[in-house]
Symmetry: C2
């Protein structure tokens, strides 16, 4: 295939990668085996396209046929599992700061990064209360609602905001609200909500920043609204800011000893 | 894009998925951060193609830019990490059988499956000896050498053998040897080597089979040749066969409680 032809199929290539990942994303903790029929219904892909992509994913060990046109996560993912887990392990100082925050506040804390128009939890430490917020590493959520999202979008330019707004029922109509959130987080230095995304759930989030002060991630403390009254909120805020300072300085990734630090 | 055009770009699509995975595969335990330059040199991809694919992988959170055109495993991999680890967890009976094998033989044991022309470790249990074989889950190896490979290829038709042989310096010249291995494993029921792939390393492998007797995986016991003399070998063989029977019956994947068992 010559270079011009190659360029011509560039869009198709990117689309295929996106589709392949869309297929994998249909597997979840609750559904670890999926049928070809379910994949077809849920991705809306043409059957020939689907079969070709499933075969490619199977060849690379990302899907594993378990008989009867059913597929499970493939053993090839185990390699990435190890890589991702070791890369996203918190550096010691950051891990300690996260633990200290949970000990002080007695509520669950987590670290989130932006991934395109979504956010992903990359670290967490749980409260010891019986009633506690549980978020798993790798769990993802939207960027158009909640304090964690407000913190993560603080520095985003309008074109990124527009992509996120497009994910909401309001479309571009969401933009003014999101710009207002950006201004609030810039001014207050944090975001807080009580029962916004889930009844009785309170959340405080503060930015983790690089050395230029740009947002790289969000540090979040979450628990039952009954334990997030005004007086406690003040204490939590002071504790979460202290932890954020340490984690901003020490980082939230392990980049390998031989590697100079990012940025 | 109409359907015929779509079909025309099918090969390009599959190639793009393969290339995207090739890019990810350049990240290893030893090198968790990679530069664009290294990716270009090692994949041989045209720079425009590479940049496009890296951007796509970044959009989906599979790569994470750490500044200076350097990339680490992305947080999107964390989701798959969880999925893969839970799916490939050994069922309780199989886990017990693997532990019992290691206790009896006092050598490390592992379970391997075929993934295209390679093999991947999906479970392992380590010997407590200071000198012991260490293999990590997710680690991969070739199918053209070693007892584990000989067991895994036992039932493969010639066209699959040919693809594996093509990975060797001998090319198709390797086929007669591989066919001989198939015959040996069929006859003996196991494969053994002393110092074949690594000096002083001895390996015994036996098949794990489905209810029709077809090979689904290999169970492997490995340790220093000094501890694999004839008398011990007999004991190891009897222990590994016993474990293989239990694991063949109980399986080596967790497919979810709501899911009927495979095949």
């Amino acid at each position: 295939m010559d270079e011009s032809h190659e360029q011509g199929s560039a869009a198709a290539g990117v689309r295929s990668v996106t589709r392949a990942l869309q297929i994998l994303s249909r597997l979840t903790d609750e559904r670890t085996v999926i049928t070809l029929r379910e994949l077809q219904d849920e991705t809306g892909l043409a059957r020939t396209t689907l079969i070709r992509l499933v075969a490619t994913l199977e060849d690379h060990g990302l899907l594993w046929a378990v008989g009867g046109n059913r597929y499970a996560p493939g053993p090839g993912l185990l390699r990435w599992a190890r890589l991702a887990s070791s890369s996203w392990e918190l550096p010691l100082e950051s891990r300690r700061a996260l633990r200290a925050l949970v000990e002080t506040a007695q509520e669950s804390a987590s670290v989130w990064v932006r991934q395109g128009v979504r956010r992903v939890c990359v670290a967490q430490e749980e409260s010891l209360h019986a009633l506690r917020t549980v978020v798993r590493v790798g769990h993802d959520g939207p960027l158009w609602a909640g304090p964690t999202a407000r913190v993560l979008i603080r520095d985003l330019p309008d074109d990124d905001l527009a992509k996120i707004a497009a994910e909401t029922p309001d479309g571009a109509g969401r933009l003014p609200l999101m710009r207002q959130w950006q201004a609030e987080v810039r001014e207050q230095g944090y975001a807080v909500s009580h029962g916004e995304r889930e009844d009785a759930l309170s959340v405080i989030a503060v930015p983790l920043v690089d050395k230029d002060g740009a947002v790289t991630a969000a540090l979040t403390l979450a628990g039952p609204t009954g334990r997030f009254g005004d007086e406690r909120l003040e204490r939590y805020l002071s504790a979460i800011r202290e932890a954020a300072e340490v984690i901003s300085a020490s980082g939230f990734m392990r980049l390998g000893a031989s590697t100079p630090s990012p940025r």
